[in-house]
Amino acid sequence: MVAGEEKGLVLLDFWVSPFAQRCRIALAEKGLACESVEQELLGDKGELLLRSNPVHKKVPVLLHAGRAVCESLVILEYIEDAFPEAMPRLLPADPYARAHARFWADYVDKTVYGIGTRLWKLKGEGRAAARAEMLETLRTLEAELGGKAFFAGEAFGFVDVALIPLTSWFYSYEEHGGFSVQEEFPRLAEWARRCGERESVAKILTKPEDVLDFIGLLKKCYGIVE
């Protein structure tokens, strides 16, 4: 077990952020202790956050001995590079397998959260379009997963870490989109359960009902009436 405190790892965090959870899961899987510092995002942002991520002003930010790394997938790669002895490796050694992982993590990043946000924010045609895109996305992920245990095959890895925190948001997407992940994408549902058996994932993921409550709060903030 590698002590993260000695390494000075701090994560600027937000309780429901699936992007911050990617980082926490990766660190937990590798036994790298890290201090999580909850940020105020709905009100005035803290000075440390603004100083550490002046460009995007977002979480997560990983501070390693005071140096800031921003953007969740960049952070995941950084953790691989900076702690090469910390097992398990989330990215395999083979360049093609790495390219496959990066492609699919990028795909997840370009789709799920953005489409999901439109799904709960919009109504009528906007929501219908988002619903169709969400189903298409989940269909693509289901097909890519196929009969494998995890996206890279036998081992829990990069793509799994990128996607699993977003599964807490599936319940909310189902509620707003009127579909069932279990029924339409059983392999994805099974994969989510399998990941959920891991201590890191079980501890870190937000409960789906809490995500739905949070979305309710955001709707109030945006003045959206259902």
Binding site: Y78, D81, A99, R102
Partner: protein
């Protein structure tokens, strides 16, 4: 790794250029296959079913899509000078972070600004683009390339900024948004990048690009308006 390398790409595509630049910088021999984007080949559709886009790298029976994923694959899979700095985790993270920034907040914003008709919206986009360009300007820190003395990952990612003046010319802009006075380092970088031996070989001439894009003005304007924020 002596299996054949093929790159499916499109003329005038900054994304295709990124993949080619990486191959040339690493000294990898490859066959370039020109795709007709209006009539995509079976090869492209079979190997990139998710996005159906170029560039697409075929290495033996392996297919790699998405320009920056291709750049990293080429960097890691072949011998040659490193595109991402070796052994420095923070420098690698920084290059990746700024690469995404260059793509999403500079090139993309500039492209949208270019095709938005004059008015408040355009002013806003130009202001945003310039704010972001200032950050890229600062990243150069008086160096020849973002990668230091040699072209690296971030230079390749930011190569879209070298194309923008051509598009500006096409859109009938009087002055470039990336002006000498405001962005001296970026202008110098652009000159260095576009005259680099390896890069030059896969960058069509200005005249060629203008001629190519001239027939596409409407399409480009449409593309810009359809791009979400």
């Amino acid at each position: 790794m002596s299996e054949p390398v093929k790159l499916l790409g499109a003329f005038g595509s900054p994304f295709t250029h990124r993949a080619e630049a990486a191959l040339r910088l690493k000294g990898v021999a490859y066959e370039f296959i020109q795709e007709d984007l209006g009539n995509k080949s079976e090869l492209l559709l079979r190997h990139n079913p998710v996005h159906k886009k170029v560039p697409l790298l075929l290495h033996g029976d392996r297919a790699v899509a998405e320009s920056l994923v291709i750049v990293e694959y080429v960097d890691e899979g072949f011998e040659g000078p490193p595109l991402l700095p070796l052994g420095d985790a923070l420098a690698r993270a920084s290059a990746r972070f700024w690469a995404q920034f260059a793509l999403d907040r500079c090139s993309r914003t500039l492209f949208k600004a270019l095709w938005t008709p004059d008015g408040e919206a355009r002013k806003g986009l130009v202001a945003e683009a310039k704010e972001n360009l200032a950050l890229m300007e600062a990243r150069l820190e008086g160096r020849r390339f973002f990668g230091g003395d040699e072209v690296g990952y971030l230079d390749i990612a930011a190569s879209g900024l070298a194309w923008v003046t051509v598009l500006e010319e096409l859109a009938g802009a009087e002055r470039s948004m990336i002006g000498e006075e405001e962005f001296p380092a970026l202008c110098r970088w652009r000159g260095e990048y576009t005259s680099h031996e390896a890069v030059k070989a896969c960058l069509p001439s200005r005249g060629q690009i203008v001629a190519f894009y001239a027939g596409m003005k409407e399409k480009l304007a449409l593309l810009a308006t359809s791009m979400q924020k």
